[in-house]
Each structure stands twice: as structure tokens, then as C-alpha cells.
Amino acid sequence: MLGALAGRLGAAAATAVLSTAAVFLLIRAVPGDVVGEMLGQSAGDQAAEAALRAFFGLDRPLWQQYLGWAGDVLRGDLGDSWRQGLPVAGIVGEAFLVTLQIGLVTLAVALLVGVPLGVVAGVRQGRWPDLVVEAFSLLALSAPVFWTGMVLLIAAGAWLGWSPPLIYAGPGENLSDNLESIALPVLALALLQAAAYAQFARQQTAMVMRQDFIRAAIARGLPARLVYGRHLLRNVAIPLVTFAGVILVQILGGVVVVETLFAIPGLGRTLLAAIQARDYPVLQGALLVAVLIALLVNLLVDLLYAAIDPRVRGA
């Protein structure tokens, strides 16, 4: 168990190093840098340009820049933003908490809506509940998040005369404003993920329903509560937990789009702004955190999986 864990941690660390190096090189391969962004069309003065480039250390060779950054990261210092000059750790940390809240609430909503729908559809395969759930899934899955978000925004404005608060508030600052701020983004993301969940749960349920032990249980005349509660759900639960990990990572990906659409100052919007401004330290810091989160979630899922299903432990 410990050996397997160490192996996984090692693989995760290697992934982190490789991906940060790739990001570091890729962003620098994109034309334009922070100096161009700051000068805009006021460019033209070579000396001022050179001075700015030196200020940001962009005049040093690439490998020196990377080693400098990596060294700082190992010492726990993500550096300062090139746009605002604030510490990257603070910017990314704050933004991540915003994104995490949306991610977790979305996951909860998707689970609460998607799993029951999927299980019901799976149990009643081919009948009307199944068809309704299928129709919902198909619609929600084929609508891109940015479209769903836009429609929700317009609908809320046109029909309810309501729009989210202009300024995002954290749950600690003002809970009701916070809920208003995240309502639409969560809904936009959750519709898609609930549909994905429903499909997955339906498929898993249908599979388990065909198993001999369920048929046997029904044949033995066990009450439905026991058939479904004890035999069906427990078997369906394991893959659903794995799926939660996949979904959470997916939500964190989709959040970039909704954050931009709904003006939520989360990790996605921070990343996008950093790309546009060529704010390398924030970009690298944010991506490092994103990569670590993805690795951590996968690791946790593996561990959780082992905890639920004794058969996996030895593997």
C-alpha cells in the first residue's frame, strides 16, 4: 500500500515538473510579452523597452529564467505578478478558493440531480422515466456551457428582471450576495454535469440490474427497498465515486468559461487574464496549482476507491 502510494506520488511529481516546464516554454513561444502589453501602441522607444525587459528579467537566457523560477518555487515562493506586483501565491490562492467553491457546489448539485435520475432511468429502462431522463441528458450534454450560461443570463434578465450582482462577493464577505453571484454559473455547469452523471448512473444501474444476484434477489421475493438499497446502490456507488473525481476535474476545466461569462474572479479568469497580459509568474503559478489539484484529486479517488472496494487494495 505504502509502496504504491510512493510510486503514485513520484509519478505525480514528475508530471508536475514536466507540465510546468512545458507551460514555461509554451507561453514564451507565444509572440508578445508583458512589455509589449504595457507599451501598447506607445512602443517605439528602444531604450525604454530594453529597460522594461530587464526589469522583468526577460533579457536573461530561457534556462536561467526557468531555473530561477523553479528554485523560487521549491523555496515556496511563487514570485510576484507582473501586472499588479502582488504575490502570486495570494492571487492564485484567493482565486482558487473561489473556483473550488463553485466546483464543489456544482458537484453536489450534479450528484443530487444526476444520480437519482440515472438510477431511476436505469431501473425503469425503456419506460417513460427513462425516456424523459434520456431527453434531458441529450439536450444538456449537447449544449456547450458558454451557450447555456448565456441563455441563463439572458433569460434571468429578460423574464425575471434579475441579473447577478455586479461585484462578486466571497461566502465570508456576504453569503446572500455570494449565492446570487454563483447561482447562474453553478446552474450552467451543473446542468451539463448532472446530465453526464445521469447517463453514467443509468448505464451502471442497467449493468448491475442484469447481474444474476439482482435477478436472484428479485426472484427470492426480497422487498424492493433491499434489492435496490443493499444490492444495487452499493454496487453502483463505486464507479460513481471514481466518476466524481473525473467530473470535478472537468468542472474545474469548464469553470474557465463560466467565470469569464459571469465575471467571477476565480482561477479560470485569473489564468485567462494572465495569458492576455503575458503575466508569466501568475500563469505559471496558477497552472502549477491546477496541475497539482488535478493530480491530488486523482490520487484521492484512487485511495477512496481502495477504501470502498477491498478488491482494489492489493493492486
Binding site: V30, P31, G32, D33, G36, E37, M38, L39, G40, Q41, S42, A43, G44, D45, A47, A48, E49, A51, L52, A54, F55, D80, R83, Q84, G85, L86, I91, A95, M150, L153, I154, G157, G161, W162, S163, P165, L166, I167, Y168, T260, L261, F262, A263, P265, R269, T270, A273, Q276, A277, R278, D279
Partner: protein, 529 residues
């Protein structure tokens, strides 16, 4: 108080925009004729919410060039002069300005009782420090080039600043306005992390000071109680909220979450016409949406090809397709400067479509069979997409087949900086002065940057002459000549200036829109009960 005197006359002579010196309205009471008129009926207090489409990357008036930055920092930082909408630079932190007869020495008397947001009083040493800092290119300010004319800054006493120039430069007063001419306390940048701190704390002299800047969310400004204009400003606070797109900005206006906004797309005004309680104001702007023609690129090296392109384009149709009727078709200067500095449109060449002449020119240049040309369009500038399609159709008529290339802004800026513009759209603004508008963009290096590789000796001569000439009538004559040259040899085709469309809730009073599109007007606004 700003009183007419010999000094004022001297000031007027040296500044832009005054063709025949009109009588200036005398400022009554403490509030000056800047930012818009004061309002004796104004109610004090309250927080005004402004929805903005572009968030400034930071709030450093010395190192960040972008319009998004200037739009908000003008409320916190002030220069010696103010870019009056009339096109004239008027004293702001200066009380008066005197120019020596040879045009080489400018003497500024400073306003007294000016306090920085840090609590220190302003003195001539602060002015000297600020301008010495910005003009030293090794400090990396995008404004350095503008201040290149300055040879030396002296401070004979606490309230006098003497600026000596290398050569006469009639636009110096406009250079000392609020984009790069801001005054900060001496040694501001000597402090550790000084640049970063400017995004958390303002150190200017303006009517508002920075209270909070949350990137990707908002900027909050608070009234500065020690502000030097007695009784100003009226608002207690201003909240700038960054909106992710035009749709959410409109929504915020409709649902009264925002009090004021400048529409990023002027044509969106149509969508707000029927909304109760909204006032929609329209003003000409100092921006220009243009097509630039790089004289070093492919077929554009031949002036006849450039002329043929200009003669094939129907600017009115391009504007209609891009922003509807919400702008002004241009000749060779921006809309808000046409009256003061623009050449009369009927005296300019290549302004109206003439397809026969265009075809003849192309045939003469050896392109009778037509040719293919790349047109660069920048992603994120919405007007460029419909404009590109329209222009492609228009050029098709003379046999030029456009291949539209959409590039990212960073990529585009890189090409621009390295003077590799090719055939491209551009979208840029200016301060209301012809030297500032034309010089850096069109004067060949090393004095200017000549981004379009126009490489025109006659233009260089006119640009230098215009810079050194103070007499308004003579100055205008020179710039009209320059514009005629531009219309004949086509380094750029100025298509149109989009209107500045400002939307305010009815409770917002006394907001005047400045032609730069910056938020000067909020310094005089108030909120009705």
C-alpha cells in the same frame, strides 16, 4: 483661481487647438473650468457604480500605457496641465505657464495648497522628480519618448518649475497632461516594490484616492478630503466594476446595477433606447479605426497600389457594416479634432471611391490582372470582422482578393513594434494635439517610429516644423499640408471614429463625457436623491 493675464496669453500661444483665441469663460468660485462645470445645486455623497469593459492591468501611471489604465487614473493623478476638450492644454497643477520668445523655456508657477494622497504638500521638487523619472528611458516608461524634448528641469523656488527644451516643441503643454504627465511625491520609485504598491495605494493629487483594487472584479475610489479644489468632488466614492463582455454591461445598465457606462460597442445604444430611466449621450471621440498600409510590405511598396486601395474603399459602407451609423467617417484626422486640426475633406485626395481610377492605377503598377493580399484583423476587436468582409467585397471589384488573417493582440503588437505591420486594421486613440497624434507614428526614426514605413522626407520636414511652431494659424497650415500628403501617398486609411456613447441612470447628474473616453467627468458628477 485662474485669471486672464499676460501669462495666460503666453499659455494660449503655446498650446494646441486655439485657432482664433476665443474668450475663455472665467471660472467662478473655487472650481476651475476643468473636468466640466461645477454645479452649485449638487448634492454631496453617495457611491456611483461604473461598469467598465476593460480592466486596467495595473494603476501605475508611469509604466502602463493602456487606455484602460489612463481612463481611471486621471481621477487619482494629475499633471501640470489638463487636456481640455477644446483641444487646448490648460493649467491644472500649474497656475500659469510662460513661454520664452525662442520657445525653449517654459516657466510654470505651481498651485499652492496641493496635497498628495500621502499627506505631503506638493512642491517643485516633486514635479522635477516625476518628469525626470519619466524622461529617463532606463526607467522603462512608455512615456519616455514624449518627454524626449526636455533638456533640463530647474526649480528656482518651491513653487516654480522651469523646463528647458533641446528644441522648440509646441506640444510640451499637452505632454504634461494626465496620461504621462502625472506628478507624484519625490522618490516615489526609490521605495521597495514601489510599482506594485501603486496598485494598492494612490500617491497622486487627484480628487479621488484608491481604496481597493481587486483584479478581475473591481476598483473602489474614495473622495480625497484634502483635495485642492475647495468643495470638490461631490461623490463620496466610485466603484468601477469590470464586466466580462458587452452583454453583461448592458444587462447591468438595464437592471440598474450600474449607474454609468461607456458602451464598448456604440451600436448597442439601440438596445437601450426603450429602457426607462436611462440617459444616452453621444460625443465625437479621439479614437480612430483605420487600415494601415506598410510601405515595406509586398505590393504596398508601390504608392499607386496604396492609392488604388484607398480609391476602392467606401468608408461610409464600412462604418455602416461595423458599427451602424454610430460614428463619424474620417478624412485624415480623428473626429474630435476635425474642426480644430483637420484638413477640409474636399481638399483631400483618395477619400471617395473611384473604381476606374483605381483599376487604371493598378494596371499602371503592373497588377492589371489583380492580385492576392493578406489583411490582418485583431481577435477581440469586434468591429474588424464585419469591416474585413465589407472591405474584401469592395477590393474584389478592382481585382484585389483579400485573404483575412485573424491574429491575437499580442502577436499584432509584436508586429507593430517591430515595424512589420503589413496590411492591417488598427484601433487607436490620441490626446487632442496634432503633434502627439502624428509625430511618433509617422516621423521616420530615430526621432519617430514610422510604424508604417512611410519613409517620407517631406512628411518628416512638416512634422518637425509642426513641432517647433507655436503660432496656431501657422501650425494648422503645416498640419493641413501633412494631411494632404497623407491622403496622396496613403500610409494609412482612417475609416471612422466610433462615437463615445455614455449611458447614465437618471439619478446621475452633471456628468460630461471627455473626448478621450477617460473618466474625467466623474470629478464633477453627483447623485440625485
Amino acid at each position: 483661481m485662474w485669471t486672464p493675464s499676460i501669462t495666460r496669453r503666453a499659455a494660449l500661444l503655446g498650446t494646441a487647438g486655439l485657432l482664433a483665441a476665443p474668450a475663455l469663460p472665467l471660472a467662478q468660485g473655487a472650481a476651475l473650468d476643468i473636468y466640466g462645470p461645477a454645479d452649485p445645486q449638487a448634492r454631496r455623497g453617495g457611491t456611483l457604480t461604473v461598469a467598465i469593459a476593460n480592466e486596467p492591468p495595473n494603476l501605475d501611471p508611469f509604466h502602463q500605457a493602456g487606455d484602460a489604465r489612463t481612463a481611471v487614473t486621471v481621477l487619482m493623478y494629475q499633471g501640470l496641465m489638463y487636456e481640455h476638450p477644446s483641444g487646448e492644454a490648460r493649467p491644472l497643477l500649474a497656475e500659469s505657464m510662460q513661454i520664452s520668445p525662442d520657445g525653449l523655456t517654459y516657466t510654470f508657477r505651481l498651485r499652492r495648497n496641493v496635497t498628495f494622497h500621502t499627506g505631503q504638500p506638493m512642491s517643485s521638487a516633486d514635479v522635477k522628480y516625476s518628469y525626470d523619472y519619466i524622461r529617463d528611458a532606463s526607467n522603462g516608461s512608455p512615456g519616455a519618448a514624449d518627454f524626449g524634448a526636455i533638456a533640463e528641469i530647474a526649480t528656482p523656488d518651491d513653487h516654480t518649475v522651469v523646463i528647458r527644451l533641446n528644441r522648440p516643441n509646441a506640444s510640451l503643454p499637452m505632454t504634461l497632461t494626465n496620461r504621462f504627465g502625472c506628478v507624484v511625491p519625490k522618490d516615489t520609485f526609490a521605495a521597495q516594490n514601489a510599482r506594485a504598491r501603486l496598485s494598492q495605494q494612490s500617491v497622486g493629487t487627484g480628487p479621488f484616492r484608491l481604496a481597493e483594487f481587486r483584479p478581475q472584479s473591481h476598483i473602489r475610489m474614495q473622495r480625497f478630503p484634502q483635495y485642492w479644489e475647495a468643495g470638490q468632488p461631490y461623490l463620496e466614492a466610485i466603484l468601477f466594476s469590470t464586466q466580462p463582455n458587452a452583454a453583461s454591461l448592458l444587462q447591468a445598465l438595464r437592471n440598474r446595477r450600474a449607474d454609468v457606462a461607456l458602451l464598448p460597442r456604440p451600436q448597442d445604444a439601440e438596445q437601450l433606447r426603450d429602457v426607462q430611466g436611462l440617459n444616452i449621450g453621444t460625443a465625437p471621440s479621439l479614437r480612430q479605426n483605420t487600415l494601415d498600409l506598410d510601405g515595406n510590405f509586398a505590393q504596398l511598396r508601390d504608392v499607386r497600389v496604396r492609392q488604388a486601395i484607398a480609391l476602392s474603399i467606401d468608408k461610409e459602407a464600412v462604418m455602416q457594416a461595423s458599427i451602424g451609423g454610430h460614428g463619424t467617417v474620417l478624412g485624415t484626422t480623428v473626429a474630435a479634432m476635425q474642426e480644430s486640426w483637420g484638413a477640409p475633406l474636399n481638399e483631400l485626395a483618395t477619400q471617395r471611391p473611384d473604381l476606374d481610377r483605381a483599376r487604371a492605377l493598378l494596371a499602371e503598377a503592373g497588377h492589371g490582372g489583380g492580385f492576392q493580399l493578406d489583411l490582418v484583423s485583431i481577435i477581440g476587436f469586434e468591429w474588424m470582422d464585419p469591416a474585413a468582409v465589407t472591405i474584401a467585397q469592395q477590393l474584389q471589384r478592382v481585382g484585389i482578393r483579400l485573404n483575412i488573417q485573424r491574429v491575437e493582440l499580442g502577436v499584432w503588437l509584436n508586429a507593430f513594434r517591430t515595424r512589420n505591420m503589413r496590411f492591417t486594421f488598427n484601433d487607436w486613440g490620441t490626446q487632442p494635439d496634432p503633434h502627439i497624434l502624428y509625430y511618433r507614428h509617422f516621423r521616420s526614426p530615430p526621432q519617430g517610429a514610422d510604424f508604417r514605413n512611410w519613409n517620407n522626407a517631406e512628411a518628416d520636414r512638416l512634422l518637425d516644423q509642426g513641432m517647433e511652431t507655436s503660432d496656431p494659424a501657422e501650425r494648422r497650415r503645416i498640419y493641413v499640408q501633412l494631411q494632404k500628403l497623407m491622403s496622396e501617398t496613403v500610409p494609412t486609411i482612417m475609416l471612422f471614429s466610433p462615437n463615445l456613447v455614455t449611458v447614465t441612470q437618471s439619478r446621475v447628474r452633471n456628468y460630461a463625457q471627455h473626448p478621450t473616453g477617460w473618466w474625467f467627468g466623474l470629478a464633477r458628477s453627483w447623485i440625485a436623491a
